[in-house]
Symmetry: C2
Subunit: 181 residues, 2 copies
DNA sequence: CCGCGGTAGTTAAAATTTCAAGGAGAGCTC
DNA sequence: GAGCTCTCCTTGAAATTTTAACTACCGCGG
């Protein structure tokens, strides 16, 4: 039995609507690509989670949040903005920041302009954790991915992932300008 | 500030041990590739989780477990074996199977040869869920990935992900033959 | 047969994520 | 300026995952 192809029924009634027809199953080649992708991404995320949990005391996503803050002007970002950059829900971010706050790596600050708003601010302690753990993390990423790929492969991967990400972007740049789409 | 590059200190003391030196930070190009990868994989996993949660009542990993069982002889697999194929821990699998068992999609069976062993067996109901939801899932995967990539890109992606997965494989084939490595 | 180290799988508890609601303020309209 | 809608963010509870034991059993060497 093939991946995701669990039906081996005969020809569909008639090609009218697109949803009720015999679906276009993945070809063998496509299946292999898909499985390779799923396997690699699962293993990689797991690997980085363990590496960072061990060396930095936090999962990969949380580390990514600190990095984004570190890159931002005044080391701060509005919650919603940070959530968008990190591609996670605001709810998830709320919980995550609460945890990072307990660690003393992030601090919340009220937004003066909008009383609903909150800034997440990277503290000096948070900065310090990054400084200490960044080298190990880069090494892990290199070892797991970049050291194993040719320059061409790296380039291709970048292009491919950009395309995929674009297609899944909740609505891309101009999310606040829905009338333009 | 660059991704993962939080230290802008000057030259390191002296290149002696490999761990204490100035780390090889990611180049700008590498950073872009890495971010694209993280963004895309995050968005994609999230997308598929939601699609399957909505249409099949389970997260993507669980769906993958049912698929692996469906592909296996007699629709069954030893717990440890299933965990390896799915790239998850045995603990996680235990919980997952418990949940799928409650849904009636999987059943546990004792292994006759090894009294410690358990088989996870796909039930008819589980088979039926797959049959009903596979088309929608394939469509989602196509729309998110394959429909957007050229044949060359698909091929490249497969090769790249195979390489990455191989490098992270706990110990690859022959894991039970450590003296061969 | 006994003891011992290793394997298969489970489980409780803690951490994280998801899901569904909700509180509070912004911004617009009449 | 009251009402309405939408946005920002949080929260509690449920679901899932992680972590660290823990039980039962296999297999080997004595």
């Amino acid at each position: 039995m093939e991946y995701m192809n669990t039906a081996s029924t005969s020809a569909p009634p008639s090609p009218v609507s697109a949803s009720a027809e015999e679906p276009r199953w993945l070809t063998d080649d496509e299946q292999r690509v898909w499985r390779a992708y799923i396997d690699a991404s699962t293993l990689l995320e797991d690997h980085l989670d363990r590496q960072l949990q061990r060396d930095a005391g936090m999962p990969h996503v949380y580390y990514g949040l600190l990095v984004k803050l570190a890159e931002s002007p005044r080391r701060r970002l509005r919650m919603t903005e940070l959530a968008m950059y990190a591609k996670i829900t605001r709810s998830r971010l709320s919980h995550a920041i609460a945890r990072l706050e307990k660690n003393g790596w992030v601090r919340r600050e009220d937004c003066p302009d909008d009383k609903r708003g909150q800034f997440a601010v990277l503290t000096d302690a948070g900065m310090e954790v990054l400084r200490e753990t960044a080298p190990g993390h880069v090494a892990a990423v290199r070892q797991a991915m970049f050291d194993r790929l040719t320059t061409e492969q790296q380039k291709a991967l970048g292009e491919i992932m950009r395309i995929v990400a674009e297609g899944l972007q909740p609505s891309e740049a101009g999310a606040d300008l829905p009338w333009l789409r």
